[in-house]
Amino acid sequence: MTTSATTLRLVEGESSTDPEDAAPLSLAAAFRAYSPYVAQIGRRLLGPSDEVEDFVQDVFIQARRGISGVRTAGALKGWLSTIAVRLARRKLRRRRFRQMFWFEREVDYAEVAGSTSSPEDAALLARIYRILDGLPPDQRIAWSLRVLHGERIDDVAELCECSPTTVKRRVAAAQAAIREVVGDE
């Protein structure tokens, strides 16, 4: 990613004694630094689809007013993640509602898997995402953050704004649903 050195220092700087660390961050700088990360979260929570780009922009639109008040890179990343999870939950709930009542067309995940996928990976991911589409959004988000995004239970709890025990319960429920379909293949 072609990010200027100045932007990197502003956004990625870890030293709290660095005076530039306290400088207000611009939306453009934050977007350049963290949009790929937010896109990754979006893809893993919503599934690979053409919604992801709009999702990324929605996250930054919601975050823009508060960005100037964020002082460190770590805080910004965490804050963007929380906004992303909240937005994803809202989108997933809306999607399930539309699918239940308006018969929204299902996404053909086999056609939207990344171009770098092997056929085996593409087919497996397509199955997993179809199963995830049938889960309650909270279970899907907890499992996706834990498994696809590799977050620790405590971090998932923070992002989902619930207790670690609740996260474990949701992840276990999602795992059971996946195992039931995929079985021992």
Binding site: M1, F60, L87, K91, P119, R146, R179, E185
Partner: protein, 375 residues
């Protein structure tokens, strides 16, 4: 995390399309435009609201009904009314799907598309969503390989064939081995050299016979020995067909010789397979299946008998017989590989240049360039 989850996570990491610098900048530009539009809408609403309210009151009082409108600012989740067009992507050459066992599915052009719908240890299903594709399937008795193309499915076991969608119909052409073509109400086995369009306009007698025939039951060893080698081969019992061929002479008939070659290939007798193919070519050099025979011979020489020079010549003859045929591109690519393996760098380079000129978007171009020393 269990093993499945580890596999899924790895698959997701492999599949995740990276947001490179260009994409970030393009998305940022769209974001800034969206934000500017939202600001304009809000300011417009702020300025025009009193005017609109007044207008509304006026209309209300004049016609006695609700009227007027006020613009609403879009919510956070609202999409822009006019979606920006995506940046133009460079048209990519057809992408080949390659499975771990070496089976491949190559779209025939940029408009064609083939996707993997299901891949397990027991079965593979590939979907041809549009256009046509060439399939090379590794033989595996424990796993079925299926191509779904709309109304028609092609079930295969160790073959090379192509499938092309033509409107609601599907054209299937088999280069090696056999496939079973299925459609609602019918099915048919198609052999090497065969080419047909499905579903057929009316059930043929052959299809009716196939449908009426009782399902074949496993036969005892003594029964198998008494069966003709052709029958055994058509059933896919290649080892038994090979045994049945012992001491027998295959007549100088193109069909029989090609079938005998298949028997030997699939029962791991490449030398004898090559002999039958050479005989087939001698019997009728102008037969429409001669390019296929040369192509198959080239593959046997190259991959099983370690005779790359003979392989290169066989691939060259395949191209000479059918320069515009469906095997020509593949044959030229393999000829490059054969000359490369034979240590003939000049010839490999010349053929690679020819490939690049004739097939600038060919699916094997990167491979050909590397073997031909063009990189």
């Amino acid at each position: 995390m269990n093993e499945l989850e580890l596999t899924v996570r790895q698959a997701e990491e492999n599949a995740d399309p990276a947001w490179d610098g260009a994409r970030v900048e393009a998305s940022l530009a769209r974001l800034e435009r969206r934000i500017r539009r939202r600001v304009v809408i809000r300011r417009t609403a702020l300025i025009s609201a009193p005017v609109l309210v007044a207008l509304g009151v006026l209309v209300w009082t004049s016609i006695g009904g609700p009227s007027g409108a006020s613009q609403e600012a879009q919510g956070v989740e609202g999409r822009t009314a006019q979606r920006e067009t995506q940046e133009t992507r460079t048209v990519e050459s057809p992408r080949t799907l390659q499975l771990a066992d070496g089976s491949t599915a190559t779209p025939e052009d940029e408009e064609s598309e083939v996707v993997a719908a299901r891949v397990t240890d027991r079965d593979v299903t590939v979907r041809l969503t549009r256009g046509g594709a060439r399939f090379e399937v590794q033989r595996n008795h424990d796993r079925s390989f299926r191509v779904d193309a709309g109304l028609v499915s092609v079930v295969v076991m160790g073959t090379s064939f192509s499938v092309r969608r033509i409107g609601p119909a599907v054209e299937v052409q088999v280069f090696e081995g056999q496939v079973r073509v299925e459609w609602e109400g019918g099915s048919q086995t198609l052999w090497a050299g065969g080419r047909n369009v499905y579903p057929p306009p009316a059930l043929t007698e052959a299809t009716e016979e196939l449908e009426a025939a009782p399902e074949q039951q496993p036969t005892s060893a003594s029964t198998r020995r008494n069966l003709d080698w052709r029958t055994l081969a058509e059933r896919g019992d290649y080892d038994d067909a090979r045994d049945a061929l012992e001491g027998q002479t295959v007549r100088d008939d193109m069909d029989d010789l090609l079938l005998a070659a298949d028997v030997m290939r699939y029962s791991r007798q490449p030398g004898r397979a090559a002999e039958y193919l050479e005989r087939a070519i001698d019997v009728d050099p102008s037969d429409r299946r001669a390019p296929l025979a040369h192509f198959t011979l080239g593959r046997i020489f190259l991959h099983q008998l370690n005779r790359p020079r003979d392989a290169a010549r066989a691939f060259a003859r395949c191209q000479a017989l059918a320069p515009s045929g469906s095997l020509a591109e593949d044959a030229l690519a393999r000829e490059v590989e054969a000359w490369h393996r034979a240590g003939e760098r000049r010839l490999a380079r010349e053929r690679a240049i020819r490939y690049e000129q004739n097939y600038p978007n060919g699916p094997r171009l990167p491979h050909v360039r590397r073997l031909g020393g063009l990189d």
